[in-house]
């Protein structure tokens, strides 16, 4: 009996979706449960994502060096856009901003296309075992924390015990009397770019490898009949085939122009290279948490978020206009 009623309810609701839309359905116990389940996310986000947005009022208050953050938030006097003026005129901020933008642009040119190239190369390997070995080895660094990987990089770039100085000496780029310090400011960017490359390329290529494997094999066969070589197939079939994946990641990368991996930069920073490794994420930590300049760092964070979202919107808009592809 129960069974029949239930079956009836289901078939009825399925019969006429148009009709169902117009008529207001009654709330059932199931609706309440589902809304309750979904509301858990709102509860979480209200606390950890939306409530902090109200905390941004601190960016418009004079709350630096407050002893108690909550009290500061409530009692500090308003000061308009003074905090924004303060960081925009601060040479330390300008340095961090320049480092952030320059490094991210270089990485966009090198670290962004590298996994795509890697995936194209992997795709050309026909021996499954070799493919598997290469992928296993090159993905591994991704799963290691930046503390550990950074520790390895620091050990390897050490002037006396590292592996690079002897190599540099052997080829005459460094000498024992006047050794090159790879941990100094001059080599900081190279260290950061190369270490992200080693840690990220293998794993970064997986998404593209997956996209390539879902491409239609018939297109390749047709191209072969037309006499296309491997290089031509990669350029004219594979690349256009994964273009939408590339677009999404490119847009995300552009919107992340002001973001960096805190973990990576913090572990690789030292007193010698700080002028080249201070980026906005570490600068916010340094000013906001270490120095307790709460308002200053809040203003900085707000600036950062607004620019990032703007960049995402602009790049998405341009991408949609020109290629018809976007994130949303």
């Amino acid at each position: 009996m129960k069974l029949e009623i239930a079956a009836d309810v289901i078939s009825n609701s399925k019969k006429d979706p148009e009709h169902e839309k117009k008529r207001k359905r009654k709330w059932t116990g199931r609706d309440i449960t589902l809304v309750g389940m979904a509301s858990l996310s709102l509860l979480f986000l209200a606390v950890f994502s939306y409530a902090p947005l109200f905390g941004l009022v601190l960016a418009f208050k004079d709350g630096d060096y407050g002893l108690n953050l909550l009290k500061t938030m409530a009692t500090a006097p308003w000061n308009g856009f003074e905090n924004f003026a303060a960081f925009l005129l601060d040479p330390n901020f300008v340095d961090a901003l320049v480092n952030t933008i320059c490094l991210n642009l270089i990485m966009l040119l090198i670290n962004f296309p590298a996994p795509i190239l890697f995936a194209l190369l992997i795709n050309e390997v026909r021996n499954k075992h070799y493919k598997k070995v290469v992928q296993t080895l090159s993905n591994f660094p991704h799963f290691i924390s930046w503390v550990i990987f950074g520790g390895m990089i620091i050990a390897m770039t050490d002037m006396t015990t590292g592996i690079f100085n002897p190599i540099l000496e052997a080829i005459g780029l460094s000498s024992e009397e006047n050794p090159v310090n790879l941990q100094g400011a001059d080599y900081a960017w190279a260290t950061i770019i190369l270490s992200s490359l080693i840690k990220g390329v293998g794993w970064g290529s997986i998404i593209y490898t997956a996209a390539i494997s879902s491409l239609d094999g018939e297109m390749y066969e047709a191209a072969e009949l037309d006499g296309a070589n491997r290089f031509q197939k990669a350029i004219y079939i594979t690349l256009p085939g994964i273009a939408s994946t590339i677009t999404v990641f490119l847009l995300l990368n552009i919107s992340g122009l002001l973001g960096n991996s805190f973990d990576q930069f913090y572990i690789l920073q030292n007193s010698l290279n700080l002028s080249k490794t201070q980026v906005l994420t570490t600068y916010v930590y340094q000013t906001g948490i270490s120095q307790r300049r709460y308002s200053y760092a809040s203003a900085l964070g707000l600036f950062n978020s607004v620019i990032s979202v703007t960049l995402l919107l602009i790049s998405n808009f341009i991408s949609k206009k020109t290629t018809g592809r976007g994130i949303y």
Binding site: K2, A6, A7, I10, R30, D31, T33, L34, V35, M37, A38, L40, S41, L42, F44, L45, S49, P52, F54, G55, L58, L69, L70, F118, E124, V133, V134, Q135, T136, L137, S138, F140, P141, F143, I144, S145, V147, I148, G151, M152, M156, I163, I198, G202, I206, I207, A210, R230, D263, I267, V284, Y285, I289, Y294, S298, L300, G301, L302, N304, S305
Partner: protein, 288 residues
């Protein structure tokens, strides 16, 4: 069938990929060699592939360090509890969000998506942590990480692909939504749940930011934070240890031993990671 013959293009591709794989592997070999080497001898340089003066002293010092074990224990606990809680919480939400008949579905979705792109930044977030009493509290490792919109979308996409008939049959049997989620959707979604669980677990295992910012460390120290101190500040506590043992070590070689020990758990789950991670990415990219 194509004839297999020597081909320069193939050779270059093999060589470039092989070289990169070796470069990715090398840092581990370097640290492994150093961890088995005498400390003073290591300082003289030249330990690149194999240890020269082999000793286990570095490992002894790490393994006898109570702080190391304390941090290790904290991290194991955080990883285990955090992963389970986050997986349950996120998949409950994902279940509701995967249902077409969910009321206010659009509203829920927009409210979730917005947070992926706009955040208040570090200081306001820090303030919420303090306000909730989570500062310097073990729960700061768990509660703020129990939900992630990205993971929810991944699981939701998988749920959407499950056959509708299963749910209908369960409704006929009078099962509640919670029961359907737990007894039908969860067991059928093992591939995606394994993927997300591994993402979560490596995230918990590798994190040190929370310790550094939201705690005073001490009792709440985590493994990565412990390693970070060792690497950045060359801080090693050898108080009360056998002097002959200490003589064979330096802070550098001890940190290598600690790095190797901290990497072992990742190494153990790596085969599973390899298997599921790629799958999960595909699930997310093809349907998302």
């Amino acid at each position: 069938m194509r004839k297999v013959r020597f081909n320069w293009a193939d050779f270059i591709i093999w060589f470039v990929l092989g070289l990169f794989a070796l470069i990715a592997l090398y840092p581990f070999i370097y640290v492994l060699a150093g961890s088995f080497n005498d400390g003073m001898d290591y300082s003289a340089g030249g330990i690149w592939l194999f240890p020269r003066e082999v000793t286990l002293a570095n490992y002894s010092v790490v393994l006898m360090d109570d702080d190391f074990w304390h941090a290790f224990g904290n991290t194991v606990l955080i990883t285990a509890v955090g992963t389970v809680c986050a997986l349950l919480f996120t998949s409950v939400v994902a279940y509701a969000m995967s249902r077409r008949e969910l009321r206010f579905r659009n509203f829920f979705q927009i409210a979730n998506l917005f947070t992926m792109f706009f955040s208040g930044g570090l200081i306001p977030y820090f303030m919420i942590i303090v306000l909730l009493g989570l500062y310097d509290n073990f729960l700061v490792y768990i509660i703020p990480s129990i939900y992630s919109v990205y993971n929810m979308i991944i699981i939701q996409n998988f749920f959407k692909g499950l056959p509708e008939e299963l749910r209908e049959a369960a409704i006929i049997d009078g099962a509640s939504e919670l029961k359907i989620w737990w007894t039908i959707y969860m067991p059928l979604s093992k591939p995606v749940l394994a993927t997300v669980a591994l993402w979560l677990a490596t995230g918990f295992w590798n994190s040190y930011f929370s310790t550094m910012v939201y705690t005073r460390a001490g009792d709440l120290e985590t493994l990565q934070y412990f390693l970070m101190k060792m690497i950045k500040e060359a801080r090693v506590d050898t108080g009360g240890m056998d002097p002959s043992l200490i003589e064979q070590t330096t802070s550098a070689t001890i940190s290598f031993a600690a790095i190797v020990i901290a990497t072992i758990p990742i190494l153990l789950v790596y085969p599973f990671i390899q298997k599921y991670f790629a799958k999960g990415i595909m699930i997310g990219s093809l349907k998302g």
